[in-house]
Every structure is written in C-alpha cells, then in structure tokens.
C-alpha cells in the first residue's frame, strides 16, 4: 500500500480518563499497534476527558477509554484495547 506524503492513511483519536488503569492500558496497546503495524502512516491524538470534556461531549463519548478511528473507515471501539486482532480488522489491516 502506498503512503501519500503528508497525508497519513490511519487517523485515530483516543479518549482517556487521566491515568485510570484501563485508559493507561489502552494507550499502551494502541501505541504498540501503531509502532508495529502503522509506522509513520498514522496520526494518534490523545484526549484526556478530564482536561477537555467539551471534546467528549461533542461526540457523545460517555465511556472511557474510547478509540475513534476516523480513517480509513470510521469505527468506535470502547475498552482497554486488549484484543489487537480486532483493532487490526477495524483498521482493515487483517
């Protein structure tokens, strides 16, 4: 798959609740996936809902952690992201 310069294929946002256990786990898990599978072809924005509640409100994010995949195909995944395979499927990698 090609990588158009300056336009990453995978864009994601992760809503976390400060340093809560599941949020920390989710951040570790998605960071690993990015490093292993997405390389430079992605952006991952981390939003702490306690710092920026308006962002959570705007998208009706009631549960944390929540991963919002914006591209290539919109998908919302809640939980600590322990199942890597499911995320890769959602990203269209596997």
């Amino acid at each position: 798959m090609g990588t158009p310069a300056g336009f990453p294929e995978y864009r994601m946002r992760l809503f976390v609740a400060g340093t809560e256990r599941n949020s920390v786990m989710a951040l570790n898990n998605i960071t690993n996936i990015c490093r292993t599978h997405l390389k430079d072809n992605h952006t991952l924005e981390i939003i702490d809902v306690f710092e920026n509640h308006a962002a959570a409100m705007a998208e009706n994010i009631l549960l944390a952690p929540t991963l919002v995949i914006d591209t290539p195909c919109r998908e919302i995944i809640v939980g600590n992201l322990e199942n890597e395979r499911q995320i890769l499927t959602a990203l269209g990698i596997r």
Binding site: A17, L63, I76, N80
Partner: protein, 407 residues
C-alpha cells in the same frame, strides 16, 4: 424534552437562559465495538466540566439504566454505580437519578445496590384497576427524615406534579359546623331543628325516584336566592338536563345560573381517575369559592375505579370542604336490599354530620314517599317517618312536623 416539559408547566428554555440550568442529551452509541474493560469516566468528566462552568451543585441523571445496559453483567453495573456514588460524594454533588424498576422474576441486575447507596429512595408506580389508571408515589427510605411511608396518589397536570396525601389531613384542624341554613324546604327545616348547618357534610340516600335531586336542587335554589354561591357537581347528568328536570317540581334554577351564583361541575366518573377528579373539583372550588357544594350522586363515584377509589375521593373531598367551611350536600343511591345507603360510600357515613333516608311506602293502592332523619349532629331533629310529596311547588311535607315530635 423542552416541548414535553411545557405541557406540564415547566419552561426549560427559560431556565436555560438564566444560565443556571443545562440539559444535555447523553445518547448512547449502540454501534460502538467493545474491546476489553471500560467505565463511565467520560460521562463523569463531562458532568464535572459542565457543572464547573455552570457552578452547579445539583445533577440529575435520567434513565441511568439505559447507559448501564452497555455493561453486560451485574457485577460490572454494580462497579459503575459504586464509581458514580463515590465520585458524587467526592465532588459534593446532590444527585437525583431515575432508573427503571426491573420486574420479577427477580434476578441480580446490579441495580439493587442503588437502593443501599442512595440516601433517599422514591418509588413511582402506575396501576390500572378496573380500567382506571392511578399514579402512586411512595418514599421507600429517607435517611434522617421522619417520612410518611404510605403510598400517595399523584397527578401530572398542566401545572406540574400534584401529590395528594390523604394522611396529611389533620382532623383536629377543621372548624365545627356553623349556623343553620335553610334547606329550601320548610318541612325539612322543621324536622332538622332549623335546617342544615353551614359547613356540615350531609347525605341524602334513597331509591331512584324518591326525590334526592329535588331535595338538593331546592337547597341550591334557596341559597342562591339568599345571595350565596352554590357549586352543583353532577356525575350523572348534564346541566341543561338537571335544570329542565327541576321545572316540573317547580324549582327554577335558571335565575341562579344567570346571576352567576350557581355553577355546575359536570364530570363523568369514568373519564378520569379519582385523583384527577378530586383535583379538578378542588380547583373549581378554589376558583369559584362556593358557600355550598351539592353532589349528585356519590354512588357514581364507584365508577371512578373501585370502592376504595370512591372512598378516598369522598373522604378527601369532604375534609377539604370542612376545612373551607363549605357545606357538602350529597345524594346517594340506596341499594334495594339495604336499609340505608349501602354502597361503599356508606363507609363515609361516620364523617357525615347529617344523614337523611328517603323511602317509598306502599299504601295498598299507591306509593307514598317518606323521609327519616337518621342523624343530625348537634340538633334536636325529628325521629318520625315524615311523609312528603313532590308538588308543582317543590317538596311539601304532609303533616305539620315539629323537631321535638316523636323523639
């Protein structure tokens, strides 16, 4: 929600404009995929952030059960409720939350814990009995409060929510009946030692056709003639039919209606539950401020749902009238097999100050009517069976009655 609230007298938009109130639709996304553990922290963050902006101290969460449905097992739901409770306490918020009650068969839903955590639990219930729906409210617990644990009917009207606690009636508080007022029938005035007493509860019972409506119409016409106001509550007939039917026995209610001193309150017992019936009637009384209330007939009240419903309605109505010193003159349809009024409404006889029975008597070739005063508190009333007939000029007693006679 804003539109719906308007119909019960609450203007949410106006509240929002004050800057002290904020409503948010926290819609649950059902397309989301689950991957490992999660919790309601994002919701708490949103509430915390908004509350800070608004400087709010009170949080209301409607239908928490809908959100918690995303957690599959009871244990997880319990965890979230604990999390919510701890967080609310830490933040110092007062929180009112609603949740559905899960009907039997009883299984662990995770919501039982809410009852233990909450400082105050209020149970709302809608019951349908004999086709009549009644809403009831009950305080299940309230830490540190001397609450009344009984069920109370409540209503949702265009003015909001109205709770009608029958237990809040203070018996000691109402005044004794006032001076005599003419019954509009000279023979009856004599038999009652002067008439009905102002602010008393009076029941006239009898078979169909014995003249119950004529008795109360005589009273209504007489009072209006004397410049007093009368509210005529009818559960059986429309006002034109009542006015028309009284022309034959020589009682003209039309001038009283035209002067504004006589008003009708027509209600079909089946149309509304007893609480709504009571609320409507009390509201009419509050607006019109009558001196006297006549009701035709209380036996119809059973059609509001049940004997208990009729009893509740009448007890609350009578006490309410006694508090306001409004005479309450009622008719009751007697059941054939019973000596006096024998409907469930007979149960209210103990709170009636005066009871009058009307009967047919068979003389061999025709029937006559007779009246007996069963009781009339605080008076030297007649104990005789008094014969009367319904003439073209109202009710006429045949013998000269004296209050002292035949006691």
């Amino acid at each position: 929600m804003r539109q719906n609230a308007l119909t019960v007298g609450m203007d949410i938009t106006a509240l929002e404009q004050t800057g002290h109130f904020f409503v948010w639709h926290a819609g649950v996304d059902h397309t989301q995929v689950k991957n490992g553990e999660f919790n309601i922290d994002a919701l708490l963050a949103i509430i915390q952030g908004q509350a800070r902006q608004l400087q709010a101290r009170i949080i209301m969460i409607d239908a928490l059960d809908v959100l918690l449905r995303v957690f599959h097992d009871a244990e997880q739901r319990e965890d979230q409720l604990y999390r919510l409770n701890t967080w609310l306490k830490d933040q110092g918020f007062t929180c009112i939350l609603t949740t559905k009650v899960f009907p039997p068969p009883k299984q662990n839903t995770g919501f039982d814990i809410a009852d233990y955590m909450a400082d105050c639990v209020i149970f709302l219930d809608l019951r349908i009995l004999n086709q009549v729906a009644t809403r009831r409210i009950r305080v299940v617990k309230y830490r540190g409060s001397g609450f009344i644990p009984n069920e109370h009917p409540y209503l949702i009207t265009s003015q909001g929510i109205n709770v009608l606690p029958v237990t809040s009636i203070e018996l000691a508080a109402y005044p004794p009946p006032g001076p005599f007022v003419s019954t509009g029938i000279s023979g009856l005035d004599a038999a009652l030692d002067g008439g009905y007493r102002h602010g008393a509860a009076i029941m006239i019972s009898g078979d169909s056709g014995t003249g119950k409506t004529t008795f109360i119409a005589s009273f209504a016409a007489c009072c209006c003639d004397a410049g007093q106001k009368v509210l005529f509550a009818s559960f059986e007939e429309a006002s034109p039919a009542i006015i028309d039917s009284m022309i034959s026995p020589g009682i003209d209610l039309q001038p009283a209606v035209e002067s504004g001193r006589l008003q009708f309150h027509i209600a079909l017992p089946e149309a509304l539950g007893p609480e709504e019936q009571l609320f409507d009637l009390l509201q009419k009384i509050a607006l019109f401020k009558p001196d006297h209330l006549v009701i035709d007939s209380i036996s119809a009240c059973r059609r509001m749902g049940s004997d208990t419903a009729a009893f509740d309605f009448l007890v609350r109505l009578i006490y309410s009238c006694k508090m306001k010193q409004i005479t309450c003159l009622m008719t009751d349809q007697k059941l054939p097999e019973s000596p006096f009024a024998a409907t469930a409404t007979a149960a209210i006889s103990s709170i009636c100050d005066t009871m009058i029975a009307l009967n047919f008597i068979d003389t061999g070739d025709h029937t006559d009517r007779e009246m007996t005063v069963i009781k009339s508190r605080g008076t030297h009333h007649s104990r005789k069976h008094e014969n009367f007939h319904i003439s073209d000029n109202g009710i006429v007693f045949l013998q000269k009655t004296t209050a002292q006679g035949g006691r």
